[in-house]
């Protein structure tokens, strides 16, 4: 499955969830919407993970991680391109996230407010009293969320322009002339 198919599937699933009451969360026994061969992630964990990605790169006046299908991309990358040890640590860390949220905010991650989610992940970022698996999960999630976001079509066409055919090289480009969203923008 390529990224486009992932996005299309995501759109279908997103459409389907409109029918559900706003406050409900997918039950744990349903599988994730992304076809996974190695990771054992259920629908509820997938939704939790999507909110982790969204907390790292939230929607503002520009799209957030969820808008760009980043959570699906990250799960696909983990499933296809990572080894068993990393997959295990990721899964274990994701599994411990709700427990950590319960301890600090008295509810699962999905029940937390955006501010509570941010505070929790910032704590993990600083590795303050969290398990190795949870820290490892967070680091992997953050790294892949960034690469998913900055590798997306949106980012590379609307934000920092990717040029397939630059046709030039300037080794002395003044930073004051930079406009990253246009051609001749000062990036290699």
């Amino acid at each position: 499955m390529n990224r486009r198919t992932a996005l299309r599937n995501f759109a279908l699933v997103a459409g389907a969830t409109v029918l559900l009451p706003a406050c409900s969360h997918p039950p744990a026994e349903l599988p994730a919407s992304v076809p996974l061969r190695h990771l054992a992630i259920n629908a509820r964990q997938e939704k939790t993970f999507a909110e982790v990605c969204e907390t790292i790169l939230p929607k503002t006046d520009t799209p957030g991680a969820k808008d760009l299908g980043v959570p699906q991309y990250v799960l696909k990358m983990l499933d296809d391109c990572f080894g068993k040890d990393e997959q295990r640590a990721f899964q274990a860390g994701l599994g411990q996230l709700d427990e950590a949220a319960q301890q600090r905010h008295a509810q699962p991650f999905l029940g937390c407010s955006p501010a509570q989610r941010l505070a929790l992940l910032q704590g993990i970022e600083q590795e303050k009293g969290f398990s190795a698996d949870l820290v490892s999960f967070y680091r992997t999630a953050k790294r892949l969320t960034i690469s998913g976001y900055t590798g997306s079509k949106y980012f590379l066409t609307q934000q920092i322009l990717y040029e397939l055919v630059p046709s030039r090289y300037n080794g002395y480009f003044p930073i004051k002339d930079i406009n990253l969203s246009q051609s001749h923008h000062g990036q290699s």
Binding site: I56, T150, I160, Y169, F173
Partner: protein
């Protein structure tokens, strides 16, 4: 029946056969057909046609399912090729997977191969430097291997010849140790590379930082347009195959040129098992091939055979070409074939940061990759506790910095509107290794592949000289970086096995004496002079230059000799 056989032999007969279609084979094909010879090129891999067979060439980054990464299952099943820097999602279809073509590693050796029309010329790093007499005279001066039977003056006109056609960008730097060529305009050094160049010039008068010389059309000439190639567009996606023909490859340049002559027959999917030797005629008469799909064997015949299978596969093929006259392999009377294999030591890097040139960055991309530091150790005389020396690549890059906020709105803003971090500077070592008898390849005694070829057993390792040289590289580059005011200087030993440099050479070395070498000064087997070896297998020593340009020049030179000798009714 007799007539039928004669007809079939005639139909299978060419003036010349070229084994392999990569860097050297492509040049052999172009030169042989250019001199009017009906030429058969046999390639063991599939066909790859310029433009038509570059499936990823115009894909955008987001169109790759894994953002460029190789799936774990592929990496796990193919650990050797997965260590190659260019084995990524966009070009993995051009590399041989470990599982497809096994070999035996008596010692760890990463054998990186490209089995297709064009061979590794499709994915090469395109760096091109001439040798000088400081390189050709190395073995004689320093007492290793055997003396090269040629000197710079023998190859210089052929360097010029191939450079004009291939298109080499570079600057005439006037250095005795790295002769100038027929250059298209050089790609410029950037602000920090140039700053470093100036610093080195002031503080180390005998050391130089120059623009990397590379096989890119910075400003094409009519001969390049005639090949259907146009100016390099700075995509730097070369490993995918270039729709502009902006860099030199067999696929974009020599093979289509040979095709235009009407004299080329190119047969992909043909593994040459052996070169046939006729005891009465005392010469090679042709080759026996097996079709990779049907497994049917066929023989083809010719007066001249060029062996350009890629350094180690050329060794394999010659060792497997046994006869009553040559029980140890074709031309291997002295038993030295497969021995004295060498490579380049690419296992060391030095990186740093520079806190200046803050108002500048780069725009667009540099296909040359940056700068090049020619060998400065032991050039004019022996001066260290190790033999020979190293060249170094040099590149500076202005990175982005979004570390101010960990996550959330501020972090996102720093990704959308990044600030510039310090310049980062990187260097990699390209060290000469000394050919030794113990570093060798041989036919595996028992195991064969599915096309009936013995597996190649590779026994090649670093030595004490390599370790001392690497230490010196770390010290010297660190010192030069310090002198230039760079900070956060780090040395890194990759610990990689030989082979990953993709510059394996030797085993069928050139020399003057048939007792101590396999090839003469024209790349002919001493003992079977209508067989020419002009790929990496012929290299007597390795020096530090990226070797492809020298293979091209030696090939064109050998073809010229072969055709002239044949016209005179000479040895071929």
């Amino acid at each position: 029946m007799a007539n039928l056989n004669i007809d079939s032999v005639k139909a299978q007969t060419y003036d010349a056969i070229v084994i392999g279609s990569g860097m050297a084979g492509g040049w052999a094909a172009k030169e042989l057909t250019g001199k009017g010879l009906k030429t058969l090129v046999l390639e063991r891999g599939r066909d790859v046609q310029h433009l038509k067979d570059y499936p990823t060439t115009n894909l955008m980054p987001w169109e790759f399912p894994h953002g460029g990464a190789v799936p774990f299952a592929v990496k796990e099943a193919n650990p050797v090729i997965s260590r190659c820097y260019a084995f990524r999602e966009d070009a993995m279809h051009f590399f041989v997977k470990d599982t497809e073509h096994p070999y035996v590693q008596e010692k760890p050796f990463d054998w990186i191969r490209g089995y297709q029309v064009g061979g590794k010329s499709l994915m090469w790093a395109r760096q091109t430097q001439r040798w000088s007499d400081f390189d050709f005279e190395g073995p004689a001066r320093d007492g290793f291997a055997v003396d090269w039977p040629i000197r710079y003056k023998d190859v210089a006109p052929w360097y010029s010849y191939v450079e004009k056609f291939a298109g080499i960008s570079g600057h005439a730097d006037g250095l005795a140790e790295l002769p100038d060529g027929e250059f298209l305009p050089a790609y410029p050094l950037n602000a920090v590379e140039n700053y470093f160049r100036q610093q080195v010039k002031e503080k180390y008068p005998s050391r130089h930082v120059i623009s990397a010389r590379c096989a890119h059309l910075s400003k094409p000439n009519p001969v390049h347009y005639e090949q259907g190639r146009v100016q390099c567009q700075n995509r730097v996606l070369c490993q995918r195959g270039c729709p502009f023909g902006g860099y030199f490859s067999s696929n974009s340049s020599t093979l289509p040129w040979a095709q235009k002559s009407g004299l080329l027959t190119l047969k992909p999917n043909q593994v040459v098992q052996a070169i046939l030797y006729d005891e009465q005629k005392q010469r090679a008469t042709g080759v026996r091939v097996v079709d990779t799909h049907t497994k049917a064997t066929t023989e083809y015949y010719a007066r001249i055979v060029f062996v350009n299978a890629g350094a180690l596969n050329t060794n394999l093929l010659l060792l497997n070409s046994t006869s009553h006259r040559f029980p140890q392999g074709l031309g291997n009377d002295n038993g030295l074939m497969g021995k004295f294999v060498a490579f380049h030591n690419y296992s060391a890097h030095v990186t740093a940061e520079y806190d200046g040139a803050k108002d500048l960055t780069t725009d667009g991309r540099n296909p040359a990759g940056g700068g090049y530091i020619p060998r400065f150790r032991n050039v004019f005389k022996q001066e260290t506790n190790f033999l020979r020396g190293y060249a170094a690549g040099l590149g500076a890059h202005r990175g982005l910095d979004h570390t101010e906020h960990a996550i959330g709105n501020g972090f996102k803003d720093s990704i959308l509107h990044p600030k510039f971090g310090p310049w980062t500077v990187g260097s990699h070592m390209m060290g000469e290794t000394i050919p030794k008898e113990t570093n060798h390849v041989r036919l595996d005694a028992t195991r064969k592949d599915e096309w009936g070829m013995p597996l190649l057993n590779i026994s090649v390792a670093y030595d004490d000289n390599d370790a001392k040289m690497k230490q010196d590289y770390f010290e010297q580059l660190s010192e030069m970086f310090t002198q230039a005011g760079f900070t956060n200087i780090k040395t890194e030993d990759s610990g990689q096995a030989p082979g990953l440099d993709i510059h394996e050479m030797g085993g069928v070395r050139m020399g003057r004496d048939p007792k101590t070498s396999l090839l003469n000064e024209w790349n002919q087997l001493h003992a079977c002079p209508n067989v020419f070896v002009t790929d990496g297998a012929c290299m007597t020593s390795t020096s530090t230059q990226n070797p492809s340009l020298t293979y091209m020049a030696l090939t064109a030179r050998a073809v010229d000799y072969a055709v002239k000798a044949a016209a005179r009714g000479g040895v071929v």
